[in-house]
């Protein structure tokens, strides 16, 4: 019995610390967004609510994934924040009256669908996800 409890405890601890598998993330935008590339700084500003336009005046609207490997990798590589710190940033704006929460979708496919049909929408998905109807932005 003691051994079983020990194994369960070990498994629970491991589940807390285990790192998610890596996915390759790409940034996609509605075809109407008149650019083919975006700087890492501009991408961070858009997805943290600091900017609503890209240089040159292109208006963009960030679309988030709810959770998962792609979401975590996007935050790690492009935003430089943990999921908790990232959500805290948006909640700060929402609860102090400074902003509204961006649209959050459950899956890559839903992000592709939304970005394809909404002017200015910009999101992120796994490279492996089919992404017809949207343009891929190169991140410089």
């Amino acid at each position: 019995m003691k051994r079983l409890l020990y194994v369960l405890l070990l498994a629970a601890s491991a589940s807390i610390f285990v790192a998610p598998a890596k996915a390759q993330v790409i940034v996609i935008a509605n075809p109407g967004v008149k650019t083919t590339e975006i700087s890492k700084n501009d991408l961070r500003d858009v997805f943290t609510g600091s900017a609503t336009k890209l240089p040159g005046g292109v208006k963009v609207v960030p679309i988030l994934l709810k959770a998962g490997t792609v979401h975590e990798e996007f935050l790690q590589v492009y935003i430089g924040k943990s999921d908790a710190a990232y959500r805290a940033g948006w909640r700060s704006m929402v609860f102090s009256g400074d902003g509204s929460m961006p649209k959050t979708l459950d899956s890559d496919a839903a992000v592709v669908e939304f970005v394809a049909h909404n002017t200015g929408a910009i999101g992120y998905i796994s490279k492996a996800t089919p992404h017809e109807g949207v343009k891929v932005l190169a991140v410089k």
Binding site: S82, A84, R91, F95, S96, G97, S100, M101
Partner: protein, 407 residues
Amino acid sequence: MNRLIVGTVAALTLGISPALIHAQYNFNLAGRQVQVHSFGSQGFAYSNDNSYLTMNTSQGSFNFDDLGVNLSTQITDKFRVGAQGYTRRLGELNKGQVTLDWAQADYRFEPWLGVRGGKVKTVLGLYNNLQDVDSLFTWALLPQSMYPIDLRGSTIAHYGGDVYGKIPLRKYGKVDYTVYGGELPSDPHQGFLHALRTIFTEKTPYTGSIYGGDLKWTTPLKGFLAGASYMAQHPSGSGVGAPTGPFPGQPFTWDSKKRQISQFYVRYLVKGLHIDGEYHRDYRDLSIRVPSMNQLSDVQWNARSWYISGAYRLSRRIEVGSYYSFFTPDQNVDTSLPGNHIYDKVATARFDLKSFWTVKVEGHFIDGYGAIDSARGFYDGFPGPSSTGSGFKPQTNMFLVRTGFSF
């Protein structure tokens, strides 16, 4: 025992309810999407000796919870309106009264120029306007030298307007500025009035003008932010002396000739590491006039506060941290006296059970209890005719658990 059962049931309910209510509720009104968000928390505090924050912590207290709900909608690309209601229970100070936390209309002409008006949360330091939202912080209790939960009402919001914006500085980063002015809302439940309740009863609200500003510089050094805030207030009010006070039954007026707050701060946030430091100066000059006794008293305070905190996220679900918080009600008096300082050493573990649900376990090791009129957590132990207590012990150790949600 009944209170313990009620508290336990309340805690369990709040612990379970986040899972039940987790969702972002949006609805359409006149063709526009309205977002609904909320946050809430339930705490339990147990201290070895002195009771803290008007809770009966020396016996263990669940009398520490809050709830906020807001609605907002984007009218046009540049124009947004919203409002938030807030309620909390905190010992003897707040007993579930619902208040309008903020309600504002916001028009952003350009990223570098926006205006908002209504009841607006006041920007002061890193976290004044955010201090109620438990899920944003590592700590179950923010450093009380800087963000005293019992004096929240004296700085939290203003009726009036802000001009704000974000100015890019090219390779030097960017600056966020806010300038504001208006009227200080009255808060009949704040700790300052509670501390002095055996001296007088308030008759007309202690309120008046407020103005100030804030500059936040996001530096080119990744994750490093520095800033400064200034606030000036001129509240006044009137009351009647309590039977146990120095002017029993006599009407009086009190007028804050000058209250000036300066705050300087830095934040370093990179990957899982989060370091904050803030310094705060609070100067007050208050005159109390009792016309029937031809008496005029002038009282000055020159308080100083600072803290430094560090937190590290070990994994998606666990964050640990510690802070040291320093407060002296009057730096012109010997600050080594326990009646003129509060030093708080804190260690915390935060568990993110879900992205919307947290549990925090925190230890406080507090040295000193401040002055009766500093209203920083310690109330009922001051000796003398204005007290019901029998004195404080110089040290307080406190264990705090707080669970909270936000969506």
